[in-house]
């Protein structure tokens, strides 16, 4: 499906951008926001977003079809991996989920529409209105669509005009999402712009920052720091550095009848977005002492990944990244030849998936693309020692545990500094009201207006 040229990133030569074009686009966005968006009501916006999300779940939707047709070449995910990821994301954008998000972060469903007060505030004689930035600039990272698309959704909820600057070669899914919104609600889409240029093109970025009221950035620490330094002081800056995640499997869930379910969940977390997201696991820590050993878990995980490769293949890799996998495999192959403390399972004749079992808990970040560590531990203390180097940089723990142990583990993980704990198998499926890196994503965008209501004069 050829997309009409509507957004800057649709242009045949998106490289030919000038600062004046960016400024003009921002001014147009702001004007459109005043005309079409500012006065819309929250339930109405939620309806529009949920309708677009439902459309994306329909196999006949042309935008979905375009994503699945072009994604494998442009983004490097297989059609099946892409479909699974998009389904999980759009299925989460329900009316209920979006309403829950507004109430959770802002205390009241109408908080973005007018002065209002939940009961406690009303009792203290106060009402508040949460106002979104006039223009939000987003600079997302990588090729995973979840975070950039959710950013656009949040910006719609805050009635902000939005300019999303994608890294080179990564704008396909934000563009398709914006086009699909345009088909449903052209006026909402008129308040969005999607552009693409190589990161660090300072004149373009300076023009964008000069118009923005708030800038969100995702990327490496170095990228976030460099951009933070270039955003003018009065502009709010929300930086999300890269994080990593891991899974934890308690001994009590490793009973024979349970093992296939637990392992299938773990394999889904590895395969989702080919493990490239910050919510994807680098390792599974598996407690020893259960009915099945951590080695047995690793072997079963290898089988499950082999099965997934048949139905949801990883897809081809650039040679440099395949070489990183081959080199890492070579290292563990020699270790495995010397001691059963290390074991290795590899997809035959390809780098499609790799499982490394190790009896030592220290985490080395994975080379990803479905390369997963399984580490045997006596308990959670040993696992947390193993990831200590990454304390403060751990996003999600996918947990398989039950009963009182689950309670205790969750408590300990929270105290250690993890920001999200979810069931194993759902690591890449956060709900829309997920608090990104432990922060209220919607709440961080708004500026509050408090009205302390006077007594009768």
């Amino acid at each position: 499906m050829p997309l009409p040229s509507y957004f800057l990133a649709d242009r045949p030569e998106p490289g030919l951008l000038t600062p004046a074009m960016i400024t003009e686009a921002c001014l147009t966005l702001k004007a459109n926001r005043r005309r079409y968006l500012e006065a819309r009501r929250t339930p109405d916006i939620i309806d529009a977003i949920a309708a677009v999300a439902e459309d994306w779940l329909d196999p006949a939707n042309p935008f979905r079809q375009a994503a699945l047709a072009r994604g494998p070449v442009e983004l490097g995910f297989s059609r099946e991996t892409l479909a699974a990821g998009l389904d999980a994301f759009f299925a989460s954008l329900t009316r209920e989920g979006l309403r829950a998000l507004v109430v959770q972060d802002l205390g009241h469903l109408e908080r973005l529409d007018q002065f209002c007060a939940p009961e406690a505030e009303a009792r203290s004689g106060r009402a508040s209105w949460a106002r979104g930035p006039e223009l939000l600039a987003h600079l997302p990272a990588g090729r995973l669509p979840n975070a950039p698309l959710l950013s656009l959704v949040l910006g719609l909820l805050t009635r902000s005009a939005q300019f999303m600057k994608c890294a080179s070669g990564t704008s396909l899914l934000p563009r398709l999402f914006a086009h699909s919104l345009r088909e449903t609600e052209a006026k909402l889409a008129a308040c969005l712009e999607i552009a693409e240029w190589p990161g660090g093109t300072e004149p373009l970025e300076a023009a964008l920052f000069a118009q923005a009221e708030c800038v969100t950035v995702m990327g490496t620490d170095a990228t976030v720091a460099a951009l933070r330094a270039r955003v003018p002081t009065p502009v709010r800056f929300l930086g999300y550095g890269h994080q990593l995640s891991f899974g934890y499997v308690a001994a009590e869930v490793l009973a024979h009848h349970n093992l296939p379910r637990v392992v299938a969940a773990a394999a889904r977390d590895v395969a989702a977005w080919n493990q490239l997201g910050c919510l994807s696991p680098h390792a599974f820590y598996v407690e020893a002492g259960g009915r099945n050993s951590p080695e047995r878990f690793a072997a079963a995980l290898a089988d499950a990944l082999a099965g997934l490769e048949a139905t949801e293949p990883r897809g081809p890799l650039p040679v440099t990244e395949a070489a990183a996998i081959a080199a890492r495999r070579g290292f563990y192959e020699v270790r495995a030849a010397h001691s059963s403390d290390t074991q290795l399972w590899c997809s035959p004749g390809s780098t499609a998936w790799t499982v490394v079992y190790e009896s030592q808990p220290r985490l080395s970040p994975s080379v990803l693309h479905r390369f997963i560590y399984v580490k045997a531990v006596a308990g959670i203390d040993e696992a947390l020692e193993g990831v200590d180097e990454f304390r403060g940089r751990v996003s999600t723990v996918g947990l398989a545990a039950s009963g009182a142990r689950e309670q205790a583990l969750v408590q300990q993980l929270a105290q250690w500094g993890v920001s999200r704990i979810c069931p194993l198998g759902r690591m890449q499926q956060p709900p829309p009201d997920w608090r990104h890196d432990g922060r209220p994503a919607l709440g961080d965008l708004v500026r509050w207006v408090d009205w302390e209501r006077p007594p009768a004069w």
């Binding site: 994080q243 977005w273 490239l276 040679v319 070489a323 020699v334």
Partner: protein, 385 residues
């Protein structure tokens, strides 16, 4: 028994080196069968005498009976030299150990030599070096002065590169070599800036051709120093240079062509008088990307010139080929993969080495792209460093 067997193998590899026609032909014609036989015999001996190698082969289900051609010899990843001693030498025989340039003991490879295996290493080094850097020598020419931008091997006893530089400077040098490199307290290499300019001025004054040997970062340190001093030299006619190794974070990095233009500007060595060398502490032979005075911009089989214009070849007693990281098979002409090397001069260690270097297959040689990079940031996860 094992000792005598290896003595015999060392003798036969030395004979093979001497019999090689000392040109970078890539193919050894009549010696192919000798190469095959030596490779398989070395493999059998190393399988028996190098325990970690045997363990790796057994894990792959391979014994000397299963391997019938050198191409299928099990290759040892270079990273494994950090964890295990891939050597057939008993501890008492290990006279020399070469380390890779890691920062801590745990991150450094270990390649052990006995007196005999080190002598073979030196034979291999000299036999590979002469045709690439001193084509006159093979035609019966005289000795050269050497300027080395690295410390002498006595100051860096665990560097195979320093040993190579000292070996060729002794074998082919006219008088003692001038070493402009030194080690600092931490063992890192640096340029002796006080000596560099006077020494090079003396070389120009003497007006006799010199051979300058250095790492890329050694050249950068020298050139930065010369520029800061406002010095531009024209090394005497017939001079030549060898540049090797990466930067290892020890100087600013620049593309090879730019470095070579800079060398030409400051030292007067044109690119056809500069030869690049590829080697590593885990090997006993080196590859060169051409020979002094010989045009290296030959077209590839398809007729298109290679992107960088130069490619590497090993001397006939070592062979390199480029394998796909996906399935380990040799890639097609012009395709990229990981470099694998079979070095007959690695008698007391293991002859088949799997590097972490990316290379493009170019005819009988390869174009080096560099070390496998840390995973590219395609997602938003923290990556391996």
């Amino acid at each position: 028994m094992a000792h005598e067997l290896f003595q015999d193998l060392i003798r036969r590899v030395r004979e093979f080196i001497h019999a090689s026609d000392a040109v970078l032909s890539g193919s050894v014609g009549a010696q192919d069968r000798v190469f095959d036989a030596l490779a398989l015999e070395l493999f059998a001996a190393q399988y028996d005498a190098v325990p970690p190698y045997r363990a790796l082969c057994q894990a792959r289900g391979l014994t000397p009976r299963d391997v019938t051609t050198w191409r299928f010899l099990p290759a040892v990843p270079t990273t494994a030299f950090k964890d295990w001693d891939f050597t057939s030498l008993a501890p008492a025989e290990r006279r020399t150990v070469f380390h890779s340039s890691g920062t801590t003991a745990a991150s450094r490879s270990r390649h052990f030599h006995s007196a005999e295996s080190l002598a073979l290493y030196e034979t291999s080094v000299c036999a590979g070096f002469a045709p690439a850097l001193l084509p006159e020598w093979t035609a019966g020419g005289g000795r050269f002065r050497f300027v080395v931008l690295a410390p002498p091997s006595t100051a860096a006893p665990h560097s195979s590169l320093a040993h190579m530089f000292s070996t060729v400077a002794t074998a082919f040098g006219k008088g003692p070599a001038t070493y402009l490199g030194e080690t600092d307290g931490a063992g890192s290499w640096r340029l002796n800036v006080g000596r560099a300019l006077p020494a090079l001025a003396g070389v120009v004054e003497a007006n006799e051709p010199v051979v300058v040997l250095g790492t890329a970062f050694g050249f950068v340190h020298l050139l930065e120093h010369l520029e800061a001093a406002g010095a531009r030299l024209a090394l005497p006619p017939g001079s030549r240079g060898l540049e090797t190794g990466g930067y290892k974070g020890r100087s600013r990095e620049l593309p090879k062509a730019e470095l070579h233009r800079w060398i030409e500007r400051c030292l007067g060595l044109t690119s056809e008088r500069l030869v690049c060398e590829y080697g590593m502490s885990e090997l006993s032979s080196q590859a060169y990307d051409g020979a002094v005075g010989v045009a290296t911009d030959a077209p590839t089989a398809g007729g298109a010139p290679p992107a960088s214009g130069r490619w590497f070849r090993f001397a006939p007693w070592a062979r390199a080929w480029v394998v796909s990281p996906e399935d380990g098979r040799e890639v097609g002409e012009g395709e990229t993969g990981l470099l694998r090397v079979l070095d007959l001069a690695n008698v007391r260690s293991v002859l088949a080495v799997q590097t972490e270097d990316l290379a493009v297959r170019r005819g009988a040689g390869f174009e080096l792209l560099g070390r496998v990079p840390a995973a590219e940031a395609r997602g938003c996860s923290l990556l391996a460093r």
